[in-house]
Amino acid sequence: MMKAKVLVTPKQGILDPQGVAVQHAMSQLGMSCVTEARVGKVIELTFTGENEQKTREKLDQLCQELLSNPVVEDYHILWEGKTA
């Protein structure tokens, strides 16, 4: 079994109204030290299967085609290696 987290976040320069709202709310609640907030998605995945290299490649491809929208989002994969 393998696990990975895909972080999908709005590209730099792209307006992120959610982020603005979060930053605003945090500063109202006493954290005016937050200078920027950006809100994205995290997708936690669990895989079975052997061929680690292939899984990695395929996930990278699906990140571009399905999990993120390359026009407005960047993605970043955090591999968690094999577990039990």
Binding site: P17, Q18, A21, V22, A25, Q28, L29, V39
Partner: protein
């Protein structure tokens, strides 16, 4: 009775509610601005539908911290009556004035349509209603214990049902646990619901069952 309709930035059913209270129920209504800290002697506080603060982050999550909500909390602790509709229900849950949470519809789509509802509890009994819903995050969730408590304390007000009044999974438009569409607080004075009774108070708009709901609410808070 004087109603205070809270206006959060992004509320958009505030005028609809005002219209119904004023012209259909024939009662007094005033708007309460989210930045205010004065409930203007209103007897009933109403949290309308809409997208408070854009519903960014989570529905109702940011609205909960607006200044007027501190007063609404105080009103609640004095036993004051509150009704939250749609986004208002979400705000009540986020504020912990009502238990549970409203999460993304099981279909992942916003859904706007009329639904059949079956009432329960002392106020609504077995009343059958036909009222619209319009939400993207109306799937009611509570922990197993929380659900048990709701059932035990008779806090469930409405469930989604078939036209014949049976509670089936098919007639559950959003995936709510046990088809729950509306609940109330243990003292029965705080009501929260995903359906929009204010959209069903005139025959021209397709149903007048919303009026029944408002009347049951008024009845309940005048007795309890």
């Amino acid at each position: 009775m004087k109603w205070g309709i809270v206006r959060f930035p992004g509320s958009n059913c505030d005028q609809d509610l005002y219209h119904v209270i004023r012209y259909i129920l024939g009662q007094k209504a005033t708007y309460l601005w989210h930045k205010d800290t004065d409930l203007q002697n209103c007897d009933i506080i109403a949290l309308p539908g809409g997208f408070s603060y854009g519903d960014y982050l989570r529905c109702g999550a940011i609205a909960r911290f607006s200044p007027i909500m501190q007063e609404v909390l105080a009103h609640a602790s004095r036993g004051g009556p509150i009704i939250g509709i749609c986004n208002g229900f979400q705000v009540l849950c986020e504020s912990q004035l009502l238990p549970g949470a409203l999460i993304r519809n099981r279909t992942l789509h916003f859904v706007c349509q009329h639904v059949h509802l079956l009432g329960e509890g002392p106020a609504l009994k077995q009343t059958k209603l036909y009222v619209p819903i319009a939400h993207g995050e109306g799937c009611y969730y509570n922990s197993p214990d929380g659900l048990k408590k709701l059932e035990y304390e008779n806090q469930i007000l409405l469930r989604y049902c078939s036209p014949q009044g049976t509670i089936t999974e098919e007639d559950n438009p959003n995936g709510s646990l046990n088809n729950i569409a509306a609940i109330c607080s243990p003292n029965r004075r705080i009501w929260g619901m995903m359906p929009h009774p204010e959209r069903a108070c005139e025959a021209a708009l397709g149903s007048t069952d919303g009026l029944t709901l408002f009347r049951c609410f008024l009845q309940q808070i005048s007795t309890a």
